[in-house]
């Protein structure tokens, strides 16, 4: 650093933003980078847990008349596999990357609501533990991840299984809603000067689309969970025909959430794809504007297709027409995205490294899944294969392909930024191919099995259907896939010490997270960057201007824990926002809510009332310390 002024500014920033290591900081930090890392690690642990469930099921199904687990345990396994993967792995993992990268990519110093950020992590952890504690009492949810009535009603499932499901999801919803609010306000109000709407990075568009979807979709699920819990606990009626209810009401409410949920998963993941493709194609993303539009359009249209999950329930054809039309049209924006990526790769000079390998894997896998998906939009075909393994094959291709491949790409792409080290490319390449081959060996045979008639959610099958060989191949594939994942885990752990030093920008990338050190300092940027294009890190002069500004103490914001607020359209400076540093209240509030939900689950109403009071007290305590005090 050349000037005295610059050095003094840096010292001031270090002092203002420093967090000592230790238990107290661990429990009270509101730093988006630490919280993002926690999300990543915790989600991956849940991934492994869900994976163990999957391997158990595959072992059971490898041969006819399998005897590893009985039907009761099998039901819990596939239900918790689905719940874990969707609610406790893919979405939080993507939010982990969002948490870490969104403030960096928009040139901010933290999220809009740092304490809420910490809260959303603690509640995610608490609700995950809550859900898994069901195994300890032998009452894990066992009615599938979508928990249809009438089976989910008390008359048919009297145990606590479904109460864990309802309350666990209601609990998690608090975390997701808070997180979505945080992302939206951050992305629209905290961007760097000059970052107008059309210069927002595509990963941030993905997170924004996800967050809008969460805000509007989660309440439908919550309504369903609340209705079902009132029915199970207090004898209300919503879903039982005999008392004026309707079992399909659950399906409608669930899928009004459930379909947008796949876009909640998919859109940040393709945001990751859109981040990695230009970097490894060595050129700006072709049709950046169209991809931003496609992201938001997919999320929007995604709210109007949910009945396509109910094509076999005997509704009116006119009703089906609405959703069939939308299900076909939603392919258009997805197609635009795929052509955008392909065009960018073809017109660039692609450099094949492990992040790009996983992106290519995603393209192949997702397109296959997309093709079978469009087949479902044709109602006659859908009614033939509904509830068979064909469906299982389809959604694993789109979910695994559309989310897990991008997640692994992100791990390989952003690992240098988080740790300052590079992953081992050889091990990464071997792991990728094992992963890719394993994945296809596991799930491709399921298309065949579905067409041969094997139903979903069966804990075993008799020999003589011709299903045995395909199931065996699938199981071998599953263990191969696990090996590929293990390779990546080994790579991640080893490279922390053994990896090559990365430096600020090992990939020569175009977004702002690479304009600062690896890992970034607590305050992210010494001076808030000013942006003049959609690829700010490739604008070398602008990045030199950032350093010049530091040396003149401009936009360094050393008055406190500060970041810049701009208007949502043009990126003109509006004000300086002061944020909180460490705080114990997010953790305390999460604990109070845990008390409430546990008490409610156990049916101790007095204790639940105390939990509610503690929650109110924690909210009050949160407000005790105001900025500037």
């Amino acid at each position: 650093m050349s000037t005295v002024v610059g050095r003094e500014e840096l010292e001031r920033l270090e002092l203002l933003w420093a967090e000592r290591s230790g238990l107290k900081t661990f429990l009270t930090t509101c730093d988006h980078k630490k919280i993002g890392t926690r999300y990543l690690v915790t989600s991956f642990v849940f991934f492994v847990a869900g994976g163990v469930a999957a391997l158990t099921m595959r072992t059971q199904l490898a041969t006819a008349n399998g005897g590893i687990v009985g039907p009761k345990v099998y039901n819990e396994l596939f239900s918790m596999h689905g719940v874990t993967m969707i609610f406790f792995f893919v979405t939080p993992m993507l939010n982990g990357f969002g948490n870490y990268m969104v403030p960096l990519q928009i040139g901010a110093r933290d999220m809009a609501f740092p304490r809420m950020n910490a809260l959303s992590y603690w509640i995610f952890l608490a609700s995950g533990l809550f859900m898994y504690s069901s195994f300890l009492v032998g009452a894990a949810p066992d009615d599938g991840w979508f928990n249809y009535t009438p089976l989910a009603e008390h008359a048919f499932t009297p145990g606590r299984n479904i109460d864990f499901y309802n309350l666990g999801l209601l609990f998690l919803t608090v975390s997701s809603t808070v997180g979505a609010t945080n992302f939206l306000v951050t992305i629209f109000k905290l961007r760097a000067p000059g970052m107008s709407l059309n210069r927002i990075p595509l990963f941030c568009w993905g997170i924004a689309a996800q967050s809008f979807s969460l805000i509007f979709a989660l309440p439908a699920l919550s309504a369903a969970n609340i209705f079902l819990e009132l029915e199970r606990r207090f004898g209300f009626h919503f879903f039982d025909r005999a008392n004026g209810g309707d079992a399909l009401l659950w399906q409608h409410l669930f899928w009004i959430f459930g379909h947008p949920d796949v876009y909640i998963i998919f859109l940040p993941a393709v945001g990751i794809v859109s981040t990695i493709v230009p970097v490894f194609a060595r050129r700006s993303m072709i049709a950046h504007d169209w991809l931003a539009l496609a992201t938001m359009a997919t999320a929007f249209i995604g709210f109007g297709v949910w009945v396509h999950h109910m094509f076999a329930t005997g509704l009116s054809n006119v009703t089906y027409a609405f959703y069939s039309a939308a299900s076909m049209v939603i392919v258009i924006p997805s197609g635009v995205q795929i052509f955008g990526w392909l065009a960018t790769l073809l017109k660039g000079r692609p450099v094949i490294r492990s992040p790009l390998l996983y992106i290519l894997g995603f393209v192949v896998t997702f397109v296959i899944g997309g093709v079978t998906g469009v087949m479902f939009a044709a109602i006659p075909f859908d009614q033939q294969v509904t509830d068979t393994y064909f469906v299982v094959a389809h959604f694993h291709y789109v979910l695994f392909g559309g989310a897990v491949f991008p997640i692994f790409a992100a791990i390989h792409y952003w690992y240098p930024k988080l740790t300052g080290r590079m992953l081992d490319e050889r091990l990464a390449t071997w792991s990728f191919w094992t992963f890719f081959v394993g994945f296809n060996l596991t799930f491709f045979p399921m298309h065949v099995l579905g067409l041969l008639g094997e139903p979903r959610r069966v804990y075993t099958y008799h020999s003589g259907f011709g299903w045995g060989i395909w199931n065996l191949i699938s199981t071998i594939g599953a263990f191969t896939l696990a090996a590929g994942i293990l390779g990546t885990v080994v790579n991640v752990v080893r490279s922390r010490r053994a990896g090559a030093v990365a430096g600020p920008d090992p990939w020569g990338a175009n977004t702002l997270e690479w304009a600062t050190s690896s890992p970034p300092p607590e305050y992210n940027f010494p001076s808030i960057p000013v942006v003049r294009s959609v690829d700010p890190n490739w604008d070398v002069e602008d990045r030199r201007d950032d350093i010049r500004r530091l040396e003149h103490a401009e936009l360094t914001l050393t008055g406190g824990h500060e970041t810049i607020g701009t208007d949502w359209l043009d990126g003109n400076i509006e004000e300086v926002h002061e944020g909180p540093a460490e705080s114990p209240w997010p953790l305390l509030l999460a604990l109070a809510l845990s008390w409430f939900f546990l008490a409610f689950l156990a049916g101790h109403w007095v204790l639940a009332g105390i939990g509610a009071a503690l929650t109110a007290a924690a909210v009050g305590g949160w407000q005790l310390k105001e900025p500037g005090e």
Binding site: A112, F113, M116, T177, A180, T181, N182, L184, V185, F188, K189, P193, G194, I215, F216, A217, L218, P219, A220, S222, A223, A224, I226, F227, L230, E231, F234, G235, F236, H237, F238, N243, G244, G245, D246, L249, H252, L253, I256, V530, R532, R549, E554, L555, L557, I564, G565, D567, N572, I573, E574, E575, V576, H577, A616, G620, Q623, E626, P627, G628
Partner: protein, 196 residues
């Protein structure tokens, strides 16, 4: 470019971040109630006898009166918000008090009606009753939370200054009250619809 980069002394402010956060909360709660109201009509279209046999038609007069009282609270809420932003703590506090007073009248009155209806026949009789009590209960709960928060804000103002942070909080709460009041009309129209 340069004139936009220096942070001006007198900052031109947009709405506070907390207000945008409240807007997101309002949006999500609106969809929650929308889902419950949609469920009401979904089941109604399927049930030839609605309310079911033996269930009386909903009362209209008292719920309408109480809703009017609640909706009126948007006025003092707006006054509180504007006064707070203009740096007038006394006016702001009175606006908060008037809002929570009107809201409390609504909450108390509606609770009395709901408890009476419960004693007559609880929510366990039929989906019609279940939806009625769930909708009313959820709405009163939202009003109650609003009253608690207003009390908290009044307490803060009486013990300390009207800081910008607190003014932003009052601004955000006025949005909450407008939402709760619009919702009240929606819930009212839904629950009295069989009598219309």
């Amino acid at each position: 470019m340069s004139e936009q980069l220096s942070v001006p002394v007198a900052l031109q402010r947009g709405r506070p971040l907390g207000w945008w956060g409240m807007l997101m909360l309002v949006a999500t709660e609106a969809v929650l109630f929308g889902s419950m109201i949609a469920s009401y009509f979904y089941l109604r279209f399927r049930t030839p006898q609605w309310p079911p046999v033996g269930v009386p038609e909903p009362k209209v007069l008292y719920p309408v009166l109480l809703t009017v009282v609640l909706v009126l609270s948007s006025l003092p809420a707006a006054v509180a918000s504007r006064s707070a932003r203009r740096g007038r703590p006394g006016q702001a506090a009175w606006g908060l008090v008037a809002t929570l007073a009107l809201a409390s009248v609504y909450a108390a009155g509606t609770s009395v009606l709901v408890v009476r209806a419960w004693h007559h026949a609880g929510a366990q009789r039929d989906a019609y009753d279940s939806l009625f009590f769930t909708l009313q209960g959820a709405h009163v709960a939202h009003v109650a939370v609003g009253v608690l928060i207003n009390l908290f804000l009044v307490g803060k103002l009486s013990r300390g200054r009207l800081t910008r942070y607190r003014a932003n909080g009052i601004w955000a709460m006025s949005l909450y009250w407008h939402f709760v009041n619009v919702l009240a009309v929606g819930v009212l129209l839904t629950t009295i619809s069989p009598a219309l």
